[in-house]
Subunit: 314 residues, 2 copies
Protein backbone atom coordinates (compact mmCIF):
# COMPACT_ATOMS: atom_id res chain seq x y z
CA UNK A 1 0.00 0.00 0.00
CA UNK A 2 1.81 3.11 -1.25
CA UNK A 3 1.04 6.81 -0.98
CA UNK A 4 -0.57 7.12 -4.43
CA UNK A 5 -2.57 3.96 -3.88
CA UNK A 6 -3.97 5.32 -0.61
CA UNK A 7 -4.90 8.60 -2.29
CA UNK A 8 -6.57 6.75 -5.14
CA UNK A 9 -8.64 4.38 -3.03
CA UNK A 10 -9.36 6.33 0.15
CA UNK A 11 -9.26 10.02 -0.68
CA UNK A 12 -10.41 10.27 -4.30
CA UNK A 13 -13.93 9.09 -3.35
CA UNK A 14 -14.12 12.09 -1.00
CA UNK A 15 -13.22 14.62 -3.70
CA UNK A 16 -15.65 17.13 -5.15
CA UNK A 17 -15.70 18.57 -8.66
CA UNK A 18 -13.37 21.43 -7.70
CA UNK A 19 -10.74 18.85 -6.72
CA UNK A 20 -10.25 17.85 -10.39
CA UNK A 21 -10.02 14.19 -9.26
CA UNK A 22 -7.07 15.13 -7.00
CA UNK A 23 -4.90 14.69 -10.08
CA UNK A 24 -3.85 18.27 -10.83
CA UNK A 25 -1.50 20.71 -9.12
CA UNK A 26 -4.31 22.85 -7.72
CA UNK A 27 -7.99 22.66 -6.94
CA UNK A 28 -10.15 25.17 -8.80
CA UNK A 29 -12.82 26.64 -6.52
CA UNK A 30 -15.55 28.69 -8.18
CA UNK A 31 -16.67 31.49 -5.83
CA UNK A 32 -20.44 31.86 -5.35
CA UNK A 33 -21.74 34.98 -7.13
CA UNK A 34 -21.02 38.24 -5.25
CA UNK A 35 -19.48 36.40 -2.30
CA UNK A 36 -15.99 36.54 -0.88
CA UNK A 37 -14.13 33.41 0.19
CA UNK A 38 -13.78 32.95 3.96
CA UNK A 39 -10.67 30.91 4.74
CA UNK A 40 -9.68 29.27 8.01
CA UNK A 41 -6.97 26.73 8.77
CA UNK A 42 -6.17 24.59 11.79
CA UNK A 43 -3.47 22.11 12.67
CA UNK A 44 -4.10 19.27 15.10
CA UNK A 45 -1.10 17.49 16.63
CA UNK A 46 -1.23 14.14 18.41
CA UNK A 47 -0.75 14.52 22.16
CA UNK A 48 -1.55 18.25 21.91
CA UNK A 49 -4.98 18.44 20.25
CA UNK A 50 -5.98 14.80 20.38
CA UNK A 51 -4.90 11.65 22.15
CA UNK A 52 -3.24 8.59 20.58
CA UNK A 53 -6.15 6.36 21.61
CA UNK A 54 -8.92 8.68 20.42
CA UNK A 55 -11.22 6.79 18.03
CA UNK A 56 -9.66 7.11 14.55
CA UNK A 57 -13.06 7.88 13.03
CA UNK A 58 -13.35 11.03 15.15
CA UNK A 59 -9.98 12.57 14.22
CA UNK A 60 -10.90 13.93 10.81
CA UNK A 61 -14.34 14.93 12.01
CA UNK A 62 -12.91 16.95 14.91
CA UNK A 63 -10.50 18.63 12.50
CA UNK A 64 -13.31 19.56 10.11
CA UNK A 65 -15.58 20.75 12.90
CA UNK A 66 -12.97 23.03 14.45
CA UNK A 67 -12.55 24.65 11.06
CA UNK A 68 -16.30 24.73 10.40
CA UNK A 69 -16.67 26.57 13.67
CA UNK A 70 -14.46 29.37 12.32
CA UNK A 71 -16.70 29.67 9.27
CA UNK A 72 -19.72 29.75 11.59
CA UNK A 73 -18.11 32.59 13.53
CA UNK A 74 -17.83 34.63 10.33
CA UNK A 75 -21.32 33.78 9.13
CA UNK A 76 -19.91 31.97 6.08
CA UNK A 77 -21.49 29.00 4.28
CA UNK A 78 -19.10 26.02 3.98
CA UNK A 79 -17.87 25.22 0.44
CA UNK A 80 -15.12 22.63 0.90
CA UNK A 81 -11.75 21.89 2.47
CA UNK A 82 -8.19 20.80 1.80
CA UNK A 83 -6.43 18.25 3.98
CA UNK A 84 -2.78 17.75 4.91
CA UNK A 85 -1.98 14.40 6.47
CA UNK A 86 1.45 13.85 8.05
CA UNK A 87 1.98 10.25 9.10
CA UNK A 88 4.57 8.94 11.59
CA UNK A 89 7.22 6.88 9.82
CA UNK A 90 7.67 4.50 12.73
CA UNK A 91 4.10 3.23 12.61
CA UNK A 92 2.32 1.40 9.84
CA UNK A 93 -1.14 2.66 8.99
CA UNK A 94 -3.42 -0.18 8.05
CA UNK A 95 -6.19 -0.38 5.52
CA UNK A 96 -8.56 -0.35 8.51
CA UNK A 97 -7.04 2.89 9.79
CA UNK A 98 -7.58 4.71 6.49
CA UNK A 99 -11.07 3.24 6.19
CA UNK A 100 -11.99 4.54 9.64
CA UNK A 101 -10.32 7.92 9.19
CA UNK A 102 -11.87 8.55 5.77
CA UNK A 103 -15.20 7.13 6.91
CA UNK A 104 -15.35 9.85 9.55
CA UNK A 105 -14.50 12.48 6.97
CA UNK A 106 -17.17 11.13 4.61
CA UNK A 107 -19.81 11.29 7.33
CA UNK A 108 -19.11 14.93 8.16
CA UNK A 109 -18.64 15.90 4.52
CA UNK A 110 -22.16 14.71 3.89
CA UNK A 111 -23.58 16.30 7.02
CA UNK A 112 -22.02 19.70 6.43
CA UNK A 113 -21.96 19.69 2.62
CA UNK A 114 -18.19 20.07 2.22
CA UNK A 115 -16.28 18.07 -0.42
CA UNK A 116 -12.55 17.44 -0.23
CA UNK A 117 -10.78 19.83 -2.64
CA UNK A 118 -7.16 18.70 -2.40
CA UNK A 119 -4.27 18.32 -0.02
CA UNK A 120 -1.08 16.43 0.52
CA UNK A 121 0.27 13.43 2.37
CA UNK A 122 3.71 13.30 3.89
CA UNK A 123 5.73 11.53 6.57
CA UNK A 124 7.36 12.55 9.85
CA UNK A 125 9.72 11.17 12.45
CA UNK A 126 7.27 12.25 15.12
CA UNK A 127 3.58 12.28 16.00
CA UNK A 128 0.58 12.30 13.67
CA UNK A 129 -0.18 15.82 12.39
CA UNK A 130 -3.47 16.75 10.72
CA UNK A 131 -4.16 20.04 9.02
CA UNK A 132 -7.25 21.29 7.26
CA UNK A 133 -8.00 24.53 5.51
CA UNK A 134 -11.66 25.27 5.00
CA UNK A 135 -13.39 27.55 2.53
CA UNK A 136 -16.74 29.26 2.85
CA UNK A 137 -18.72 31.84 0.96
CA UNK A 138 -20.14 35.00 2.53
CA UNK A 139 -21.55 38.26 1.21
CA UNK A 140 -18.99 40.86 2.32
CA UNK A 141 -21.52 43.05 4.14
CA UNK A 142 -22.87 40.04 6.11
CA UNK A 143 -19.49 38.78 7.38
CA UNK A 144 -19.35 38.70 11.18
CA UNK A 145 -16.25 40.33 12.63
CA UNK A 146 -14.75 40.60 16.11
CA UNK A 147 -14.40 44.32 16.04
CA UNK A 148 -18.01 45.53 15.95
CA UNK A 149 -19.08 45.24 19.61
CA UNK A 150 -20.31 48.52 21.15
CA UNK A 151 -20.95 49.55 24.76
CA UNK A 152 -24.44 48.45 25.72
CA UNK A 153 -24.42 45.30 23.56
CA UNK A 154 -25.40 42.09 25.26
CA UNK A 155 -22.98 39.16 25.30
CA UNK A 156 -24.40 35.76 24.38
CA UNK A 157 -23.08 32.23 23.97
CA UNK A 158 -24.53 29.21 22.19
CA UNK A 159 -24.77 25.79 23.83
CA UNK A 160 -22.99 25.02 27.10
CA UNK A 161 -19.48 26.07 28.07
CA UNK A 162 -16.64 23.98 29.47
CA UNK A 163 -17.71 20.49 28.51
CA UNK A 164 -14.81 19.76 26.19
CA UNK A 165 -12.12 20.74 28.68
CA UNK A 166 -13.84 18.57 31.30
CA UNK A 167 -14.03 15.82 28.69
CA UNK A 168 -10.25 15.97 28.37
CA UNK A 169 -9.95 15.60 32.18
CA UNK A 170 -12.29 12.60 31.99
CA UNK A 171 -10.22 10.99 29.22
CA UNK A 172 -7.13 11.54 31.39
CA UNK A 173 -8.90 9.67 34.22
CA UNK A 174 -9.01 12.73 36.47
CA UNK A 175 -12.78 13.03 36.76
CA UNK A 176 -15.73 10.73 36.17
CA UNK A 177 -17.92 10.97 33.09
CA UNK A 178 -20.53 8.26 33.63
CA UNK A 179 -22.38 8.53 30.32
CA UNK A 180 -19.47 9.86 28.23
CA UNK A 181 -21.22 13.17 27.55
CA UNK A 182 -18.13 15.22 28.38
CA UNK A 183 -15.60 13.15 26.41
CA UNK A 184 -18.02 13.20 23.47
CA UNK A 185 -17.81 17.00 23.45
CA UNK A 186 -14.00 16.74 23.46
CA UNK A 187 -13.99 14.29 20.56
CA UNK A 188 -16.71 15.88 18.45
CA UNK A 189 -17.52 19.57 18.75
CA UNK A 190 -20.78 20.88 17.27
CA UNK A 191 -19.96 23.82 15.01
CA UNK A 192 -22.84 26.29 14.84
CA UNK A 193 -22.84 26.69 11.07
CA UNK A 194 -25.66 28.08 8.96
CA UNK A 195 -26.90 30.58 11.57
CA UNK A 196 -27.77 33.71 9.56
CA UNK A 197 -26.56 36.29 12.09
CA UNK A 198 -25.20 38.87 9.63
CA UNK A 199 -26.83 42.19 10.51
CA UNK A 200 -27.97 40.78 13.88
CA UNK A 201 -24.74 40.33 15.84
CA UNK A 202 -22.33 43.24 16.13
CA UNK A 203 -19.36 40.95 16.83
CA UNK A 204 -18.77 37.21 16.84
CA UNK A 205 -16.09 34.58 17.26
CA UNK A 206 -15.95 30.94 18.15
CA UNK A 207 -14.78 29.90 21.60
CA UNK A 208 -11.72 27.75 21.00
CA UNK A 209 -9.09 29.06 23.45
CA UNK A 210 -11.46 29.34 26.42
CA UNK A 211 -14.33 31.73 27.18
CA UNK A 212 -12.30 34.21 29.24
CA UNK A 213 -9.48 34.53 26.74
CA UNK A 214 -11.84 34.71 23.77
CA UNK A 215 -13.87 37.44 25.50
CA UNK A 216 -10.59 39.31 25.77
CA UNK A 217 -10.04 38.91 22.03
CA UNK A 218 -13.40 40.51 21.25
CA UNK A 219 -12.88 43.22 23.89
CA UNK A 220 -9.53 44.15 22.35
CA UNK A 221 -10.71 44.03 18.73
CA UNK A 222 -13.81 46.11 19.51
CA UNK A 223 -12.27 48.50 22.04
CA UNK A 224 -14.79 47.65 24.76
CA UNK A 225 -14.83 46.00 28.19
CA UNK A 226 -16.88 42.83 28.60
CA UNK A 227 -18.55 42.11 31.96
CA UNK A 228 -19.48 38.43 32.27
CA UNK A 229 -21.64 36.96 35.03
CA UNK A 230 -20.13 33.52 35.63
CA UNK A 231 -23.34 32.28 37.16
CA UNK A 232 -25.16 32.92 33.88
CA UNK A 233 -22.69 30.90 31.80
CA UNK A 234 -24.66 27.84 30.67
CA UNK A 235 -23.57 24.52 32.09
CA UNK A 236 -24.46 21.03 30.88
CA UNK A 237 -26.06 18.47 33.21
CA UNK A 238 -22.88 16.38 33.02
CA UNK A 239 -20.71 19.33 34.08
CA UNK A 240 -23.19 20.43 36.76
CA UNK A 241 -23.05 16.95 38.28
CA UNK A 242 -19.36 17.60 39.10
CA UNK A 243 -20.28 20.48 41.40
CA UNK A 244 -18.77 23.97 41.56
CA UNK A 245 -15.12 22.84 41.77
CA UNK A 246 -14.47 23.20 38.07
CA UNK A 247 -15.95 26.66 37.47
CA UNK A 248 -12.64 28.32 36.56
CA UNK A 249 -11.63 25.37 34.42
CA UNK A 250 -14.91 25.58 32.53
CA UNK A 251 -14.53 29.28 31.87
CA UNK A 252 -10.89 29.13 30.80
CA UNK A 253 -10.59 25.70 29.15
CA UNK A 254 -10.55 25.43 25.37
CA UNK A 255 -12.27 23.41 22.66
CA UNK A 256 -15.88 24.52 23.22
CA UNK A 257 -16.45 25.61 19.62
CA UNK A 258 -19.56 27.46 20.66
CA UNK A 259 -20.24 30.97 19.38
CA UNK A 260 -19.54 34.07 21.46
CA UNK A 261 -21.75 36.91 20.23
CA UNK A 262 -22.22 40.57 20.99
CA UNK A 263 -25.70 41.73 20.05
CA UNK A 264 -27.41 45.14 20.38
CA UNK A 265 -30.38 44.85 22.73
CA UNK A 266 -32.82 45.70 19.95
CA UNK A 267 -31.76 42.52 18.11
CA UNK A 268 -32.30 40.20 21.10
CA UNK A 269 -35.63 38.92 19.84
CA UNK A 270 -34.33 38.30 16.32
CA UNK A 271 -31.32 36.44 17.72
CA UNK A 272 -33.46 34.21 19.87
CA UNK A 273 -35.91 33.51 17.07
CA UNK A 274 -33.15 32.51 14.64
CA UNK A 275 -31.56 30.23 17.23
CA UNK A 276 -34.93 28.69 18.06
CA UNK A 277 -35.55 27.94 14.39
CA UNK A 278 -32.15 26.22 14.20
CA UNK A 279 -32.68 24.48 17.54
CA UNK A 280 -29.54 26.01 19.04
CA UNK A 281 -29.60 27.04 22.73
CA UNK A 282 -28.50 30.64 23.32
CA UNK A 283 -27.85 32.35 26.66
CA UNK A 284 -27.16 35.94 27.66
CA UNK A 285 -24.09 36.00 29.95
CA UNK A 286 -23.07 39.66 30.17
CA UNK A 287 -22.77 43.08 28.58
CA UNK A 288 -20.26 45.28 26.82
CA UNK A 289 -19.12 48.57 28.41
CA UNK A 290 -16.77 51.45 27.83
CA UNK A 291 -13.29 50.39 28.86
CA UNK A 292 -11.09 47.44 28.11
CA UNK A 293 -10.47 43.85 29.11
CA UNK A 294 -12.78 41.30 30.65
CA UNK A 295 -14.39 41.39 34.08
CA UNK A 296 -15.78 38.09 35.34
CA UNK A 297 -18.01 38.20 38.41
CA UNK A 298 -20.47 35.92 40.19
CA UNK A 299 -24.15 36.54 40.88
CA UNK A 300 -23.29 38.55 44.03
CA UNK A 301 -21.00 40.86 42.05
CA UNK A 302 -17.83 39.33 43.49
CA UNK A 303 -14.91 39.44 40.99
CA UNK A 304 -13.44 36.12 39.89
CA UNK A 305 -9.77 36.26 38.95
CA UNK A 306 -7.92 33.87 36.65
CA UNK A 307 -4.25 33.01 36.88
CA UNK A 308 -4.36 31.66 33.33
CA UNK A 309 -7.03 33.00 31.01
CA UNK A 310 -6.68 30.32 28.34
CA UNK A 311 -4.41 28.38 26.10
CA UNK A 312 -1.25 29.55 24.36
CA UNK A 313 0.99 27.08 22.54
CA UNK A 314 4.24 28.77 23.53
CA UNK B 1 7.62 35.86 24.35
CA UNK B 2 4.22 34.17 24.02
CA UNK B 3 2.27 32.91 21.04
CA UNK B 4 0.08 36.00 20.68
CA UNK B 5 3.07 38.28 21.12
CA UNK B 6 4.93 36.50 18.31
CA UNK B 7 1.90 36.75 16.04
CA UNK B 8 1.51 40.43 16.84
CA UNK B 9 5.13 41.43 16.27
CA UNK B 10 6.35 39.03 13.61
CA UNK B 11 3.37 37.89 11.56
CA UNK B 12 0.96 40.84 11.60
CA UNK B 13 3.39 42.98 9.57
CA UNK B 14 3.20 40.31 6.84
CA UNK B 15 -0.59 40.37 6.66
CA UNK B 16 -2.54 41.76 3.72
CA UNK B 17 -5.97 43.41 3.77
CA UNK B 18 -7.76 40.08 3.33
CA UNK B 19 -6.17 38.89 6.59
CA UNK B 20 -8.28 41.35 8.64
CA UNK B 21 -5.21 42.07 10.79
CA UNK B 22 -5.03 38.34 11.67
CA UNK B 23 -7.56 39.11 14.39
CA UNK B 24 -10.69 37.37 13.06
CA UNK B 25 -11.68 33.73 12.70
CA UNK B 26 -11.26 33.69 8.92
CA UNK B 27 -9.54 35.64 6.20
CA UNK B 28 -11.86 37.12 3.57
CA UNK B 29 -10.41 36.74 0.08
CA UNK B 30 -12.13 38.65 -2.72
CA UNK B 31 -11.92 36.67 -5.97
CA UNK B 32 -10.75 38.61 -9.04
CA UNK B 33 -13.63 39.22 -11.45
CA UNK B 34 -14.57 36.18 -13.56
CA UNK B 35 -11.74 34.11 -12.12
CA UNK B 36 -11.80 30.90 -10.11
CA UNK B 37 -9.57 30.38 -7.09
CA UNK B 38 -6.68 27.95 -7.62
CA UNK B 39 -5.68 26.34 -4.32
CA UNK B 40 -2.60 24.33 -3.50
CA UNK B 41 -1.19 23.21 -0.16
CA UNK B 42 2.13 21.70 0.91
CA UNK B 43 3.56 20.49 4.18
CA UNK B 44 7.30 20.56 4.86
CA UNK B 45 8.67 18.44 7.69
CA UNK B 46 12.12 18.82 9.24
CA UNK B 47 14.44 15.96 8.24
CA UNK B 48 12.09 15.03 5.39
CA UNK B 49 11.76 18.18 3.27
CA UNK B 50 14.46 20.30 4.85
CA UNK B 51 17.44 19.85 7.12
CA UNK B 52 17.80 21.12 10.70
CA UNK B 53 20.78 23.27 9.74
CA UNK B 54 19.22 24.80 6.63
CA UNK B 55 19.38 28.61 6.89
CA UNK B 56 16.24 29.69 8.78
CA UNK B 57 15.62 32.50 6.31
CA UNK B 58 15.22 29.98 3.48
CA UNK B 59 12.62 27.75 5.17
CA UNK B 60 9.55 29.92 4.63
CA UNK B 61 10.77 30.93 1.19
CA UNK B 62 11.14 27.31 0.09
CA UNK B 63 7.66 26.58 1.43
CA UNK B 64 6.15 29.49 -0.50
CA UNK B 65 8.04 28.67 -3.66
CA UNK B 66 6.95 25.02 -3.71
CA UNK B 67 3.37 26.21 -3.46
CA UNK B 68 3.90 28.99 -6.01
CA UNK B 69 5.19 26.36 -8.40
CA UNK B 70 1.81 24.60 -8.21
CA UNK B 71 0.07 27.85 -9.13
CA UNK B 72 2.53 28.27 -12.00
CA UNK B 73 1.66 24.79 -13.22
CA UNK B 74 -2.02 25.75 -13.39
CA UNK B 75 -1.34 29.12 -15.02
CA UNK B 76 -2.78 30.94 -11.97
CA UNK B 77 -1.73 34.37 -10.71
CA UNK B 78 -0.71 34.32 -7.00
CA UNK B 79 -3.10 36.14 -4.61
CA UNK B 80 -1.88 35.20 -1.11
CA UNK B 81 -1.24 32.37 1.31
CA UNK B 82 -2.04 30.99 4.73
CA UNK B 83 0.65 29.56 7.01
CA UNK B 84 0.60 26.86 9.68
CA UNK B 85 3.62 26.79 11.93
CA UNK B 86 4.13 23.84 14.30
CA UNK B 87 7.04 24.39 16.66
CA UNK B 88 8.91 21.70 18.64
CA UNK B 89 8.22 22.01 22.36
CA UNK B 90 11.70 20.91 23.36
CA UNK B 91 13.44 23.81 21.66
CA UNK B 92 13.12 27.49 22.34
CA UNK B 93 12.67 29.70 19.31
CA UNK B 94 14.46 32.98 19.75
CA UNK B 95 13.58 36.46 18.62
CA UNK B 96 16.37 36.05 16.06
CA UNK B 97 14.79 32.87 14.72
CA UNK B 98 11.43 34.54 14.11
CA UNK B 99 13.13 37.58 12.64
CA UNK B 100 15.04 35.41 10.16
CA UNK B 101 12.07 33.18 9.34
CA UNK B 102 9.68 36.08 8.80
CA UNK B 103 12.34 38.09 7.00
CA UNK B 104 12.54 35.33 4.41
CA UNK B 105 8.77 35.30 4.06
CA UNK B 106 8.70 39.10 3.69
CA UNK B 107 11.29 38.97 0.93
CA UNK B 108 9.37 36.44 -1.13
CA UNK B 109 6.00 38.04 -0.37
CA UNK B 110 7.32 41.20 -1.95
CA UNK B 111 8.94 39.44 -4.88
CA UNK B 112 5.90 37.34 -5.77
CA UNK B 113 3.17 39.74 -4.62
CA UNK B 114 1.57 37.42 -2.06
CA UNK B 115 0.42 38.74 1.33
CA UNK B 116 -0.11 36.51 4.35
CA UNK B 117 -3.86 35.90 4.77
CA UNK B 118 -3.99 33.91 8.01
CA UNK B 119 -2.87 30.70 9.65
CA UNK B 120 -2.18 29.16 12.98
CA UNK B 121 0.67 28.40 15.33
CA UNK B 122 0.88 25.30 17.45
CA UNK B 123 3.36 23.05 19.24
CA UNK B 124 4.57 19.48 18.82
CA UNK B 125 6.65 16.91 20.66
CA UNK B 126 8.57 16.30 17.45
CA UNK B 127 10.22 18.10 14.56
CA UNK B 128 9.39 21.47 13.05
CA UNK B 129 6.44 21.27 10.62
CA UNK B 130 5.59 24.03 8.16
CA UNK B 131 2.47 24.14 6.05
CA UNK B 132 1.29 26.70 3.55
CA UNK B 133 -1.82 26.88 1.43
CA UNK B 134 -1.62 29.23 -1.50
CA UNK B 135 -4.35 30.93 -3.49
CA UNK B 136 -4.25 32.13 -7.06
CA UNK B 137 -6.70 33.49 -9.60
CA UNK B 138 -7.20 32.05 -13.07
CA UNK B 139 -9.81 32.38 -15.78
CA UNK B 140 -11.41 28.93 -15.93
CA UNK B 141 -10.78 28.44 -19.66
CA UNK B 142 -7.07 29.34 -19.25
CA UNK B 143 -6.31 26.92 -16.41
CA UNK B 144 -3.57 24.44 -17.35
CA UNK B 145 -4.45 20.83 -16.58
CA UNK B 146 -2.54 17.57 -16.67
CA UNK B 147 -5.08 15.76 -18.79
CA UNK B 148 -4.90 17.62 -22.10
CA UNK B 149 -1.78 16.12 -23.74
CA UNK B 150 -2.42 14.52 -27.15
CA UNK B 151 -0.32 12.18 -29.30
CA UNK B 152 2.06 14.31 -31.37
CA UNK B 153 2.52 17.00 -28.72
CA UNK B 154 6.07 17.91 -27.84
CA UNK B 155 7.27 17.61 -24.25
CA UNK B 156 9.19 20.56 -22.83
CA UNK B 157 10.78 21.50 -19.51
CA UNK B 158 11.84 24.85 -18.12
CA UNK B 159 15.27 25.43 -16.58
CA UNK B 160 17.60 22.56 -15.76
CA UNK B 161 16.63 19.23 -14.20
CA UNK B 162 18.16 17.42 -11.23
CA UNK B 163 20.02 20.23 -9.49
CA UNK B 164 17.99 20.15 -6.27
CA UNK B 165 18.40 16.42 -5.71
CA UNK B 166 22.14 16.80 -6.29
CA UNK B 167 22.07 19.77 -3.92
CA UNK B 168 20.69 17.47 -1.24
CA UNK B 169 23.56 15.03 -1.88
CA UNK B 170 25.99 17.92 -1.58
CA UNK B 171 24.48 19.06 1.72
CA UNK B 172 24.80 15.47 2.95
CA UNK B 173 28.50 15.60 2.05
CA UNK B 174 28.20 12.91 -0.61
CA UNK B 175 29.29 15.03 -3.58
CA UNK B 176 31.16 18.28 -4.07
CA UNK B 177 29.41 21.55 -4.87
CA UNK B 178 32.26 24.04 -5.17
CA UNK B 179 30.24 27.21 -5.72
CA UNK B 180 27.08 26.11 -3.88
CA UNK B 181 24.99 26.23 -7.06
CA UNK B 182 23.39 22.83 -6.38
CA UNK B 183 22.58 23.37 -2.70
CA UNK B 184 21.13 26.76 -3.62
CA UNK B 185 18.63 25.00 -5.88
CA UNK B 186 17.73 22.67 -3.00
CA UNK B 187 17.21 25.56 -0.60
CA UNK B 188 15.45 27.95 -2.95
CA UNK B 189 13.54 26.70 -5.99
CA UNK B 190 12.57 29.16 -8.72
CA UNK B 191 8.85 28.81 -9.36
CA UNK B 192 7.96 29.70 -12.95
CA UNK B 193 5.01 31.91 -12.11
CA UNK B 194 3.40 34.47 -14.41
CA UNK B 195 4.04 32.54 -17.64
CA UNK B 196 0.84 33.04 -19.69
CA UNK B 197 0.65 29.55 -21.19
CA UNK B 198 -3.13 29.11 -21.17
CA UNK B 199 -4.17 28.17 -24.71
CA UNK B 200 -0.51 27.38 -25.58
CA UNK B 201 0.26 24.25 -23.55
CA UNK B 202 -2.09 21.26 -23.78
CA UNK B 203 -0.96 19.90 -20.38
CA UNK B 204 1.28 21.12 -17.59
CA UNK B 205 2.48 20.27 -14.11
CA UNK B 206 5.41 21.18 -11.95
CA UNK B 207 8.22 18.68 -11.44
CA UNK B 208 8.29 18.03 -7.71
CA UNK B 209 8.46 14.23 -7.36
CA UNK B 210 11.09 13.74 -10.08
CA UNK B 211 10.92 14.08 -13.88
CA UNK B 212 10.23 10.39 -14.60
CA UNK B 213 7.43 10.05 -12.07
CA UNK B 214 5.87 13.36 -13.01
CA UNK B 215 5.94 12.41 -16.71
CA UNK B 216 4.02 9.30 -15.65
CA UNK B 217 1.43 11.51 -13.92
CA UNK B 218 0.81 13.47 -17.13
CA UNK B 219 0.82 10.29 -19.24
CA UNK B 220 -1.82 8.70 -17.01
CA UNK B 221 -4.01 11.82 -16.75
CA UNK B 222 -3.89 12.43 -20.50
CA UNK B 223 -4.04 8.80 -21.66
CA UNK B 224 -0.84 9.05 -23.70
CA UNK B 225 2.68 7.61 -23.64
CA UNK B 226 5.58 10.03 -23.22
CA UNK B 227 8.92 9.27 -24.91
CA UNK B 228 11.74 11.25 -23.30
CA UNK B 229 15.28 11.50 -24.69
CA UNK B 230 17.46 11.63 -21.58
CA UNK B 231 20.28 13.27 -23.54
CA UNK B 232 18.02 16.23 -24.28
CA UNK B 233 17.11 16.86 -20.64
CA UNK B 234 18.82 20.14 -19.78
CA UNK B 235 21.66 19.96 -17.28
CA UNK B 236 23.26 22.81 -15.34
CA UNK B 237 27.01 23.45 -15.53
CA UNK B 238 27.32 22.42 -11.85
CA UNK B 239 25.58 19.10 -12.51
CA UNK B 240 27.49 18.52 -15.74
CA UNK B 241 30.76 18.95 -13.84
CA UNK B 242 29.90 15.81 -11.85
CA UNK B 243 29.99 13.66 -15.02
CA UNK B 244 27.45 11.09 -16.21
CA UNK B 245 27.28 9.11 -12.94
CA UNK B 246 24.21 10.92 -11.65
CA UNK B 247 22.00 10.75 -14.75
CA UNK B 248 19.36 8.49 -13.18
CA UNK B 249 19.40 10.47 -9.95
CA UNK B 250 18.85 13.69 -11.88
CA UNK B 251 15.91 12.27 -13.81
CA UNK B 252 14.19 10.68 -10.80
CA UNK B 253 15.12 13.02 -7.92
CA UNK B 254 12.59 15.51 -6.64
CA UNK B 255 12.40 19.19 -5.79
CA UNK B 256 13.13 20.67 -9.22
CA UNK B 257 10.00 22.86 -9.31
CA UNK B 258 10.44 23.40 -13.02
CA UNK B 259 7.49 23.13 -15.38
CA UNK B 260 6.80 20.02 -17.45
CA UNK B 261 4.73 21.00 -20.49
CA UNK B 262 3.06 19.24 -23.39
CA UNK B 263 2.64 21.59 -26.33
CA UNK B 264 1.19 21.01 -29.82
CA UNK B 265 3.89 21.53 -32.45
CA UNK B 266 2.05 24.52 -33.93
CA UNK B 267 2.48 26.37 -30.61
CA UNK B 268 6.24 25.81 -30.35
CA UNK B 269 7.10 29.29 -31.57
CA UNK B 270 4.61 30.96 -29.24
CA UNK B 271 5.94 28.95 -26.30
CA UNK B 272 9.52 29.91 -27.02
CA UNK B 273 8.65 33.56 -27.52
CA UNK B 274 6.77 33.76 -24.22
CA UNK B 275 9.63 32.07 -22.37
CA UNK B 276 12.16 34.37 -24.04
CA UNK B 277 10.19 37.43 -22.95
CA UNK B 278 10.19 36.11 -19.36
CA UNK B 279 13.84 35.07 -19.60
CA UNK B 280 13.05 31.45 -18.76
CA UNK B 281 15.03 28.70 -20.52
CA UNK B 282 12.86 26.07 -22.19
CA UNK B 283 13.98 22.79 -23.77
CA UNK B 284 12.18 20.18 -25.86
CA UNK B 285 12.93 16.73 -24.37
CA UNK B 286 10.47 14.35 -26.03
CA UNK B 287 7.08 13.71 -27.56
CA UNK B 288 3.68 12.26 -26.67
CA UNK B 289 2.41 9.12 -28.41
CA UNK B 290 -0.52 6.74 -28.42
CA UNK B 291 -0.07 4.31 -25.54
CA UNK B 292 0.64 4.65 -21.89
CA UNK B 293 3.48 5.15 -19.45
CA UNK B 294 6.87 6.77 -19.88
CA UNK B 295 9.72 5.58 -22.06
CA UNK B 296 13.12 7.08 -21.32
CA UNK B 297 15.88 6.50 -23.86
CA UNK B 298 19.30 7.92 -24.67
CA UNK B 299 20.45 9.57 -27.89
CA UNK B 300 21.19 6.17 -29.46
CA UNK B 301 17.65 4.96 -28.73
CA UNK B 302 18.75 2.65 -25.91
CA UNK B 303 16.07 2.32 -23.19
CA UNK B 304 16.98 3.53 -19.69
CA UNK B 305 15.18 1.72 -16.87
CA UNK B 306 14.53 3.02 -13.38
CA UNK B 307 14.23 0.88 -10.27
CA UNK B 308 12.54 3.79 -8.49
CA UNK B 309 10.79 6.40 -10.57
CA UNK B 310 10.46 9.01 -7.84
CA UNK B 311 9.43 9.84 -4.35
CA UNK B 312 6.54 8.40 -2.33
CA UNK B 313 6.21 9.18 1.35
CA UNK B 314 4.90 5.76 2.35
Amino acid sequence: MGEFDVIERHFRPLAGDAALDLSDDCALLTPPPEQVIAISTDTMVENVHFLPDDPVGTLGRKLLRCNLSDLAAMGATPLGYTLNLTLPRDRSFSEAWFTAFCGGLAEDQKHYGIPLLGGDTTSINGPLVLNATIYGGVHPHLALRRNGARPGDDVWVTGTIGDATLGLLALQGKITDPDGALSARYHLPLPRVHLPLGGIASAAMDISDGLVQDCAHIARASGVMLRINADLVPISPAAAALGPTYLKRRLSGGDDYELLLCVPAEHSDALQQICAVHNIPITRIGTAHNGQGVHIHDATGQTITFEKAGWQHF
